[in-house]
Structures are given as C-alpha cells and as structure tokens.
C-alpha cells in the first residue's frame, strides 16, 4: 500500500518535472519554428476533415433531437438559441477535444513511444539536438494552438449543420438564424469557449507526449502508450470540463 502511494507520488513528481521542463524550454531559444509548423500541419490540417465532419453531424443531430421536446411546448422558434448555447458553450470545445484526443493523442503517443523504443530520442540527444524541444515542445504548442482553431471551425460548422436541420422543417432565413444565435450568447461565452479549447489542446498535447516520452521499452510499450494517451487525455479533458464549468458558473 505504502509502495503504491510512493509510486503515485513519484509519478506526480515526474509529471511536475516534465511540466516545468516544458515551460522552461518553451521560452528559451532556439525555437524550432519549422517543426512547430510541421506539427501544426499534421495535427491541425490533417484532422480538419474528420473533426469538421463530426462537428457538422453533432450540430445537425443535436438540432434534430432537440426539436421534438421544444415543439412539445410550442417553442420550436427557440431552436437557434438552444443550438447556439449548446454548441458554443459546451459542445464545440468538448467534441473537438474528444475527437482530437482520439486522433492526435494516439498518433503522438505512438510516434513518440516508437521513437523511444527504437532509441531515436537518445540518438537525437547524441547528435546535439534537444529532443525535448524538438519533439515535445513543438507538439504541445501545435495542439495548444490548433485545437482552439479546430474548435472555431467546429462551432461554425456545427451551427451550419443546425441551420440545415432547422430549414429542413421550418422556413428560417440565414440572417434571422444568425441574429437569434448571437442573441443567445454573450461575449463571455465565446471567451469561455476559447479558454476551454486552449486548455483542452494543451492537455491533449501534454498527456500524449508525456505518455509517449516515458513509455516502457518494447513493442507492447508502443500500443500501451497509444492507448493510454487517448484514455488519459480524454479522462482529463472531462475532469477539466467539470472544473471549468464550475469556475465559470462562479464567475457568472
């Protein structure tokens, strides 16, 4: 029992050291801009089709599902307001984070752990490149910037999906839809969305790189790292969602 607690505490210390090292490396030159751009391309652009399609489907289906219960008390005209609150406040960052942790997290975890297994990281260190800066910092920065951007796309596309779902039943002009959507949300909702997306992006990058970087040597370590990168980042994303909702509710 005591050993278990000790291992847990050691793990926390390791995570803390990893985090501190990241902040140290991120501000100190040299900056690996090229690698960051490459990671942005891999993480942002490559997962854009998947995530935007998901966002569209979420918006469309959510609207379709909400309609009957709103119609029940004759409030179908409030659908745009409902969709906008649901998508901007909750769904856009969350859906983006979940899909990204599945696609990007597993990719980062598997990539880093296989580099670890084949000792490419050690080789990098020997050749004079800082592997932490080159591999970890670039990826975390890429997820932290790209996931908010993806989240904006998801919000826009999700609202478009909601609009399509509405006009399949009602006649609603796009102008009226936009007016109603933005009437329902306040600027603070958008800032909350951006804040959340940044936190989720950082979490996904951090958890995946940590799991990949410290993966156990051996072939099964790769699979394990890929798996736990997804599971851990999703789990932490949900916990953060819970905490952020509480904090935002307190802030009003």
């Amino acid at each position: 029992m005591a050993k278990k607690i000790e291992t847990l505490l050691l793990e926390f210390a390791k995570i803390h050291r990893f985090l501190m090292r990241f902040f140290r490396e991120v501000v100190s030159p040299p900056y690996e801009f090229k690698e960051i751009i490459r990671q942005c391309y891999e993480i942002g652009w490559k997962s854009f089709p998947l995530i935007s399609l998901t966002g569209f489907i979420v918006g469309f289906v959510f609207t379709k599902q909400s309609r009957p219960s709103l119609e029940e008390f004759g409030a179908a005209s409030w659908l745009p307001a409902l969709i906008s609150i649901a998508i901007v406040r909750a769904l856009a960052p969350l859906v983006t984070a979940l899909i990204a942790s599945g696609k990007v997290g597993s990719q980062i975890g598997a990539e880093l752990s296989s580099m670890n297994v084949t000792e490419q990281i050690d080789a990098m260190e020997v050749s004079g490149t800082n592997p932490f800066k080159f591999l970890i910092v670039s990826r975390i920065i890429a997820t932290t910037t790209m996931i908010p951007v993806l989240c904006f796309y998801v919000a826009g596309i999700g609202l478009a999906g909601g609009y399509l779902s509405i006009i399949s039943k009602d006649q609603l002009s796009i102008l009226s839809f936009i007016t109603q959507v933005f009437e329902a949300i306040a600027p603070k909702d958008i800032f909350a969305m951006v804040f959340r997306a940044i936190v989720f992006g950082f979490t996904i990058g951090f958890v995946s790189t940590y799991v990949g970087y410290y993966s156990s040597k051996g072939t099964e370590g790769v699979g394990k790292a890929a798996n736990s990168a997804v599971v851990a980042s999703m789990f932490i994303v949900f916990i953060e969602e819970l905490l952020i909702v509480q904090v935002l509710a307190l802030m009003g």
Binding site: R38, Y41, V88, F152, Y153, A155, A186, I190, V194
Partner: protein, 330 residues
C-alpha cells in the same frame, strides 16, 4: 523539400487564419448586437421594482431596440437605479420627456425597458440624462383585468349553481316543469292537441291553396273583377250612384230626424199624440166613446135598413150585385 515545407506553412497559416476569422466574426456579431462597439449615451432612471430586469437586457423605443441595460443597483430604500446605454444614432429621436416603463418582449420573454412617449418640443436626450419612470402597462395591466374577469366568473358560476340547485329542487317555473309530472303530462296533451290543430291548419292551408289556385285560374268572379276593365268601370259607376243614393239617404235621414224631433215636441198634433199621456188618455176615452157610438150607429143603421123607406133601395142593390156576380162567373 523546401517547397513542400513552404506549402505546409501556407496551409497551416491559412487554416489558422480562417479559424480565427470565424472567432472574430462571432465576437463582432455579438459585440454589435450588444452595442459594445457603437457610441452610446448613458441614461439613468429609477424604479421602485425592476421585476427581474437584468444587465444586458434590451431597451426599446417604439418597439425598436435602441440600447441595453448597463447597470442595476440600489439607490435608496425605495428606488432601484437602472443605467442604460442608448445608441447615439437613435438618441435624436428620443426626447427628454420620454418615460421608461418595464415590459417584456413576449408573453414569457425577457424583461425589457420600453421608452414611451416624448414630445417634439423637448430637446433630445444627452449623455448622463435622467429620465422618468412610469407604471408599466402590458402584462400587469392585462393580469389585473383578468383578475376582475375571474371574480366575475366566480360570481356567475355561483349564480348558476344556485339556479341549477333551484331547478333540481323544483323551485320556479322551469324547475316545476322539469320535476312535476302532471305539468309534463299536460304539456304532452297540449302538444298532441297542438298537433291536431296543426293538421287541421294544414288542411285549411291546402284548401286555401286550391282556392288561390282557382282564383289564379282565368275563371270566377274575382278574376273577372281583377282583369275585366269594363266590369270595373261599371262598378265604379255603380259606386258613384251608390254614393248619390247614400247622399240622398243622408238627406232623407236628416229630414226624418227633423220629423222625429218634431214628433218629440208637444207643440204639434203628432207630438201631442205621442208624448202627452193625458192626451193619450183622452184619445183612448174618445176612441172608447167612438166605439160605443159606432156600435150604436150600427144598430141604428140596421134598424134603418129594415125601415120601409129604405128597404127598396137595398133590395135593388142586392139584385144588381147578384147579376154582377153572375156576369163575372160567366
């Protein structure tokens, strides 16, 4: 390698740029809707009760959104201070004497402030102005009226209840009718006799129909009367004659009248005869005497007949009569 690197950078840049455009567009749309970027005037008003008004709710003027609520706070024990932002571009239509009332943008919608009134002669509102607040109409007034309606409804239903109770207990005409069997039976009889009457009436109507049919056909007196002009002319003539006759009759009647008037008077013979009872008695006496006299005269006359002097005359006369009778027979 460098070319693909460049391509990648461009894609990432474009991707991020468009994403940020979505974000900025969203923020801008919200900002314009909530007047974050337009020039605003700050206007203050005081309410006793703001009824759940919230910061960010709309301010309407003539049903058009002209601003939002900026701040709500307590001023004193009785007053709540409401500070609102009003768009500068709308302010020239809003006058200083405008009145702020609380209303809502739908039946169950958000509370809003509605600016009402304003006269042209007053200057337009300026930054920092304080405007009056008024009693809100709308929902509250509606509910008050509804309350009166409800009370009336209670009264009406109460009356109905009393009425139906009386009905059930057989009080009053309708109640008696509904509960008393004899009345029902009478009613039934009346209805059946009415039925009979109606049958007869029906027959009468049928007869009438045949009659009118006959009248309409080209036969009969009425038709002749109504169609033949010659008959009509002669009728008119006879009517005129009749009129003459009646005039004569009228004259006759007046004469008669005069005569009878005279008869009633005592100053002429007939008048005396008819009106004077003494005279009547005398006349009666006279008549009696006359009767006696004639009887006696009769006797005298018979006696005279048998007198020898006159007997020859009578015999002769009888003979002549007998001959005349014989002639007439032959």
């Amino acid at each position: 390698m460098a070319a693909s690197e460049r391509k990648r950078s461009i894609i990432v840049g474009l991707f991020t740029f468009i994403g940020l455009i979505i974000l900025v567009a969203g923020i801008l749309v919200i900002g314009t809707q909530q007047n974050k970027f337009s020039k605003n005037l700050t206007v203050t008003t005081y309410f006793k009760d703001v009824k759940g008004l919230k910061v960010g709710n709309n301010v309407w003027f003539s049903g058009v959104k002209v601003g939002i609520i900026k701040e709500i706070g307590f001023e004193s024990v009785e007053n709540v201070r409401v500070i609102m932002n009003v768009e500068e571009k709308s302010s020239k239509f809003i006058r200083k004497d405008v009145i702020a009332t609380l209303s809502s943008d739908g039946l169950i919608g958000n509370a809003i402030i509605s600016l009402v009134g304003g006269t042209e002669s007053f200057p337009q509102i300026k930054d920092g102005d304080e405007i009056k607040s008024g009693v809100s109409g709308g929902m509250d007034a509606m509910l008050a009226t509804l309350q009166v309606n409800n009370e009336n409804l209670v009264e009406i239903t109460k009356n109905f209840a009393a009425l139906s109770k009386n009905l059930l207990e057989g009080k009053g005409a309708v109640g008696a009718m509904m509960t008393d069997e004899t009345i029902a039976n009478n009613l039934k009889q009346s209805v059946s006799s009415l039925n009979g009457t109606m049958t007869q009436a029906n027959q009468a109507v049928n007869n009438l129909v045949t009659l009118t049919n006959k009248l309409n056909s080209n036969q009969g007196l009425i038709h002749e009367l109504s169609t033949d002009t010659a008959v009509f002319a002669s009728l008119r003539e006879s009517a005129a004659q009749l009129q003459g006759v009646t005039q004569t009759a009228s004259a006759l009647m007046s004469n008669l009248n005069q005569t009878t008037e005279r008869l009633n008077d005592k100053d002429n013979a007939i008048g005396v005869l008819t009106n004077d009872p003494e005279a009547a008695n005398e006349i009666k006496q006279i008549l009696k005497n006359l009767n006696l006299s004639t009887e006696k005269l009769d006797q005298n006359m018979e006696a005279l007949q048998s007198n020898f002097l006159l007997r020859g005359f009578f015999k002769k006369k009888a003979k002549e009569e007998a001959e005349a009778a014989k002639d007439s027979i032959n």
